[in-house]
């Protein structure tokens, strides 16, 4: 009986201590990669909510969802009583950000980018917003070292095409200046589609002309994506070298395109998948 009493006493005495350091801290994380960084920094106990795009680590999905990052509602965000909002570039809308400012809640936007330095900068900026710059430096250096150590260079890089979706037979592919373009380069490939920026539908002839040797797609929840056989049967895709070797890589979207702490893993996985069979 006495032991039990002491155990309870200990528990009640210790519990407040562990949460006291940031007892006043209530952070909302907006953007999948931002949430990943906060978890990687070990600061997740300060989070009170996240946005719809924050799905990794899976435990993050237990947090309340304040909506899609570009369509946040002011009262929804205020309802979780936050003291700080850390958001990916492009979060909003501006009306919501202004209301949050008038409620004197800091809204910190983290710049985005799709190369090695961008990953470090992102981690560093999030850590500074959290007030743990040393942790940030350590994590950024660690991730950067992993990226530097990647042995993804090949003399004859494969032509890779990232396909966002195939809807009604239309191929939506990634051009330059996207996260997909960035990760293909980090993985030691070369983007087969360079005629435009962003994600655009390609004509069948443009697909043939791009002549990708490998096709990369995302794995999605509740898979709406096209089946392998259907993809190879697509008249334009069928003409590509990728179809001849049936080279298709499917990777989780947030891992592949997040540009966060898991980017080295993404680059390595993609590299192995592209060149593995050779």
């Amino acid at each position: 009986m006495n032991t039990l009493f002491r155990a309870i006493l200990m528990a009640t005495a210790v519990a407040p201590l562990s949460t006291m350091a940031f007892a006043e801290d209530r952070i909302v994380s907006v953007g999948g990669s931002i949430t990943e960084i906060i978890f990687a920094l070990g600061e997740e106990n300060r989070l009170v909510a996240r946005d719809t795009t924050s799905s990794f680590p899976p435990i993050a999905e237990d947090l309340p969802d304040v909506g899609y990052m570009r369509a946040l509602s002011p009262e929804g965000v205020l309802s979780v009583n936050p003291t700080l909002i850390i958001a990916e570039d492009g979060s909003g809308p501006l009306e919501t950000v202004q209301v949050l400012e008038s409620a004197e809640i800091p809204f910190i936007t983290i710049p985005d980018g799709f190369d090695r330095t961008a990953v470090s900068n992102k981690i560093q900026s999030v850590a500074e917003a959290l007030g743990v710059p040393e942790k940030g430096t350590a994590l950024a250096m660690d991730v950067d070292a992993q990226l530097a150590a990647l042995d993804t260079h090949v003399d004859d890089p494969a032509r890779v095409m990232f396909i966002l979706s195939v809807q009604g037979g239309r191929i939506m592919a990634s051009g330059t200046n996207t996260a997909a373009d960035g990760i293909i380069q980090l993985a030691g490939g070369t983007n087969a589609v360079t005629g435009f920026e962003g994600y655009k539908p390609l004509t069948d002839e443009a697909v043939t002309l791009a002549a990708p040797e490998v096709i990369v797609m995302m794995i999605r929840d509740g898979d709406h994506s096209i089946a392998d056989t259907a993809l190879w049967a697509h008249p334009a895709i069928a003409t590509t070298p990728a179809a001849q070797t049936q080279s298709l890589v499917r990777i989780d979207g947030l891992l592949l395109l997040g540009f966060g702490p898991r980017t080295p893993e993404a680059a390595e996985t993609l590299h192995a998948a592209i060149y593995g069979q050779n």
């Binding site: 909510a49 929804g76 309802s79 979780v80 809308p93 004197e104």
Partner: protein, 359 residues
């Protein structure tokens, strides 16, 4: 169909007059709107309540900044804007159905929705190309401003096309509206094609409508336009009643038909343009509300227009409350909710009028 026998009612009160009944409905709808306004200030994702804040204030304590922002900067403008948008859309719908003598008419027929949509898409996709000076002044209001101008431009164009020798043909307007809709759809398609990923997401959300972006600035700019448009109701009511007999008969009854058409079209363009500009695409309010009322109070516009305004406002506030609490702390676009109710209702109206219209 109730609309078609409206002409009988131009004579003084007689057996079957639904005036007293309408008066009761008017009072009920006013009470309902008042309740919705209070509820809208009280309900939300956060636990903040109007009554609680008033109580705190009355007991001499300071209201917290968070409570103040939620009540004054978020819910108050949102509630007022929601009421005005709901009233505008419902009255515009009722006026259009009267003017076109077609139970399925809605404000989209004068081209305002298509034009406003194109304006919004232009602002979302090409907003970045604006000269820095203009962009700095318009700022986050670029989309509403562009939507309003787009709505007006397309209505004026349609009006010019349909007006010949000082007479506006509603039939020409209807047909030209379809052509213009196809054209704006094509231009919008080009813009959607060149839009990037984020812009596409913005377009989708804009199309589903939301009152979440309500601010005092938007209210102060769009509010007077909507109130001005709603204030033409008394003039329109008599004219629309007479118009149910046909344009020639209405003219012989002493109704200035052309002037009335001008006012009706400009009123609808103004009210709908301002509504769409501040809240995006909210559908079906203009169909659901007037028809629901015609079923109970009859087709006389004297009552139909003001009660449509009251019920439209109450309906949109109710839909908005659902939109903000159903997936809290996130928010479901309000257009989804109005269409979920409106779609089946539209079908009901269609099936009900099938016999009369012989379609």
């Amino acid at each position: 169909m109730a609309i078609l026998d409206a002409g009988i009612r131009l004579s003084p009160p007689q057996a079957g007059d639904r005036g007293p009944q309408a008066l009761v409905v008017l009072i009920l709808c006013a009470a309902l709107l008042l309740m919705m306004i209070i509820a809208s200030l009280t309900v939300g994702a956060s636990g903040t309540s109007l009554l609680q804040a008033l109580f705190t204030w009355a007991s001499g304590e300071q209201i917290g900044l968070r409570e103040k922002v939620i009540l004054f900067d978020i819910r108050a403008p949102r509630t007022l804007l929601g009421a005005l948008v709901g009233a505008s859309l419902a009255v515009s719908g009722a006026v259009m159905q009267g003017l076109f003598r077609n139970p399925l008419a809605d404000p989209g027929l004068v081209g305002v929705s298509a034009g406003a949509g194109l304006g919004a898409i232009l602002a979302i996709v090409l907003g970045g190309l604006l000269p820095a000076g203009i962009a700095a002044v318009a700022g986050m209001y670029t989309i509403p401003i562009a939507a309003f101008l787009g709505g007006w431009a397309s209505t004026l164009l349609l009006y010019r096309i349909a007006t010949r020798k000082g007479r506006t043909s509603v039939a020409v307007m209807l047909l030209a509206g379809i052509a213009l809709g196809a054209l704006t759809g094509a231009i919008a398609g080009v813009l959607v094609y060149i839009a990037d990923d984020n812009q596409l997401r913005d377009l989708t959300f804009w199309g589903l409508g939301s009152l979440a972006g309500a601010t005092w600035t938007k209210l102060l700019v769009a509010g007077p336009l909507m109130i001005l448009a709603l204030s033409t109701m008394p003039f329109l009511a008599r004219g629309l009643d007479a118009l149910t007999l046909g344009e020639a008969t209405a003219w012989h009854l002493g109704i200035p038909v052309q002037r009335m058409k001008n006012i009706a079209i400009l009123t609808v363009a103004c009210a709908t343009g301002a509504s769409v500009a501040v809240s995006g695409g909210i559908g079906f309010v203009g169909i659901v509300v007037p028809h629901l009322l015609r079923l109970t109070i009859g087709p006389s516009h004297k009552f139909l227009l003001p009660i449509s305004a009251l019920l439209g406002a109450a309906f949109l506030l109710a839909a908005d409350m659902v939109s903000r609490v159903i997936v809290a702390p996130s928010e479901l676009p309000i257009g989804i909710i109005t269409a979920t109710i409106g779609g089946p209702f539209f079908l009901f109206v269609l099936l009900r009028s099938r016999g009369v219209l012989d379609i």
